[in-house]
Symmetry: C2
Subunit: 400 residues, 2 copies
């Protein structure tokens, strides 16, 4: 029997009409002989609404209770979708994360999937054609409900595909993966195929259609992911192993990350204690530092690094506290920068990408302040006002 | 350690202010050295809202999915109440029915509790002072969520009290159990104590403060139930074993059941096939027949019985179908009757209750059409317009 995992995000199931349309599509596939595992998120703004209620209850909810509360959102969606399917004559069964046997480890609100027993599914498929599973959730060793954190429903879908050895189709409100953000560069083309590693690099560099985590999981278990728009005829993107892709280009995509901040600290003396304390506090506060550059000379120490703009409050607190111990510390937090990145598995074999990118920026009068490279990407920190122009210039220079 | 089970119904937890007031009261008791198991229902109209959503989804929801959906209501309340408690510095933990180890058997929406493991509680109390448990729900042998049906949260509370060997306090929006409905007879007094069997009889006869089922359970395990108004200083009613009660009166209460219908069928011939089919269909349709009287003579068969008015549609369908097979069948459904009942454990030992009641009704020109007696109750079907007057007359005659 042909088995697949399909996942629908919150905006795809935001009202009952949308859920019914999805149910009808699923019926059509069942009629064609498929067995389906369908992962859904909470309907539309349900999670936001629950969080709003929480803020009326307490400023400091315990993570355990928050997870218990939030999991009701998906539990409601699976009930509704399964009712719709049964109403259409499809044998469907709704399941919470723990009923589907999704065991998790780690923090209540940022759990990782530890184990899924595929037997649960084989058994349930004996009497059902569609199993509707609540995304984003599981149960830990202490029998407490947990959520998987950002992008969690995608991770649920990929993990279920891995344990059932099926492909995974992720339906969302975009048509697929683009070589660059079409809102930034209109002519951007949609990719039919992209490799796991390119996709991970794109996600990590700010082109966030899928969380890095779910792509990593798909990569580990070699699960092809189809990413496309819900109920659309437009062909989406397959994310799969590099070896399965025919074409190999130097640069597959351009990512522009506008959600970053650039931090510069200076101190009149070289001081390892200062740096040790800084990085300890950054780690304690879960602030991820991206690009780092350091200059130590007679005038002292100067260091720059980039972080996500969601850490704005955290970084300000950390640096202000540090200034109490180190009076002469001076720091600047600048949000007027963006990071532009070129991504492509072909970079490994093709030389000259860095120099060509470098020359393209120079030729177009776009100064850059920091640069960093990985095996399959090159990134530059540039002025925010140059962002869109840089995307267009690089896109054209590399004939993406 | 002093351990108690407390239960709060939907109207007691209909908004966050009410939940916070309950949390503060619980904190006060914890500060006085108690360990508390707190059972809560879904907030206010949550269940109605979910049912309304369902009607937008399908006319025929599967019971399994309906149970899965409805259980989210209580799951949300336990999360909020536990957050409030933790916010007040109380060590509290929220639990769904299955996390509390409530195993059920039977129909998904009308399950019965089969088993509760008290060890779950002993273990959780090692690090917590309050365990907040979702009422009305459990999990069956197939690992499917179930609901307990009408009055289910009360049953959860009593079952938890039984397995933890503690008393059970049920808080609601009435001050306690009254000798008769104070809306019908203003001078009705509130009872400080009432026996399990009197309470069951009162519930069965329409004075429905508590479902018969939870009182029966309390009776079986000898769990005293306190019934009172949420956060009120008014003293409520203890429901306990007869042997623990000092005072014994012939009549403890008067119940007036206005939610009944009186059905009369007549057929020109005595016909056992007709009756067999009728009662088979009534059983199939889960229509409970209460008082039955039958006359068979030369003019044929005449039978009357009373049923709950919630079965109105069902009974009409059944009798219309029956008329197709038995053309000469004639039937009348009358809602202009009520049932008045006298209840008291003392009836067992004291004679003359029936005749005194009989004479009271006669003396006040109140005709009755059917009568039935149990060990501790006598009921009469009378005209609806005589209902309130009959309550007052009997109340005064028996000096309740």
């Amino acid at each position: 029997m042909n088995r697949s995992v399909l996942k629908f995000g919150g905006s795809s199931v935001s009202d009952f009409t949308k859920i019914r349309n999805i149910a009808e599509m699923l019926k059509h596939r069942v009629d064609n002989g498929e067995q389906l595992i369908v992962v859904v998120s909470a309907m539309g703004k349900t999670t936001d609404q629950l969080m709003e209620n929480v803020s009326a209850v307490t400023e400091n909810p315990k993570d355990e209770e928050l997870a218990l509360l939030l999991t009701t959102g998906e539990q409601q969606t699976v009930s509704y979708l399964s009712m719709m399917l049964n109403d259409l004559g499809v044998n469907a069964k709704a399941m919470t994360g723990y009923q589907a046997g999704i065991k998790t480890v780690g923090h209540h609100l940022k759990s990782r999937i530890a184990e899924i027993n595929p037997e649960t599914f084989n058994k349930s498929f004996e009497t059902n054609d569609v199993l509707v599973v609540a995304g984003f959730q599981g149960i830990n060793d202490s029998f407490e409900l947990t959520t998987l954190g950002r992008g969690g429903s995608d991770t649920t879908a990929v993990a279920l595909a891995a344990s059932n050895q099926t492909p995974c189709e992720i339906y969302t409100d975009v048509d697929g993966v683009y070589a660059t953000d079409p809102r930034v560069y209109k002519q951007a083309k949609r990719l039919s195929y992209v490799s796991y590693e390119e996709m991970m690099e794109m996600s990590a560099l700010g082109a966030g259609v899928l969380e890095t985590r779910s792509v990593e999981l798909a990569n580990n278990y070699d699960i092809p992911i189809y990413l496309g728009r819900t109920l659309s005829n437009v062909k989406g993107t397959w994310i799969m192993a590099q070896s399965d892709l025919l074409e190999k280009k130097a640069v597959t995509g351009v990512a522009l990350d506008t959600h970053m901040m650039h931090v510069t600290i200076s101190y009149p003396l070289p001081d390892n204690k200062l740096l040790t304390q800084l990085f300890t506090k950054l780690e304690e506060g879960s602030v991820n530092v991206d690009m780092i550059s350091q200059i130590v000379n007679l005038e002292g120490l100067q260091m720059s690094f980039t972080i996500k703009d969601t850490d704005a409050i955290q970084i300000t607190n950390i640096l202000e506290k540090l200034s109490e111990d180190f009076n002469a510390l001076d720091f600047k937090i600048n949000e007027e920068y963006v990071k532009i990145s070129l991504i492509g598995s072909g970079m490994r074999d093709m030389s000259g990408v860095a120099s060509k990118a470098f020359m393209t920026l120079i030729a177009n009068d776009i100064p850059f302040y920091q640069t960093t490279t990985s095996e399959i990407s090159i990134s530059y920190v540039i002025d925010a006002f140059n962002g869109e122009r840089a995307v267009a210039n690089l896109y054209e220079a590399f004939d993406i």
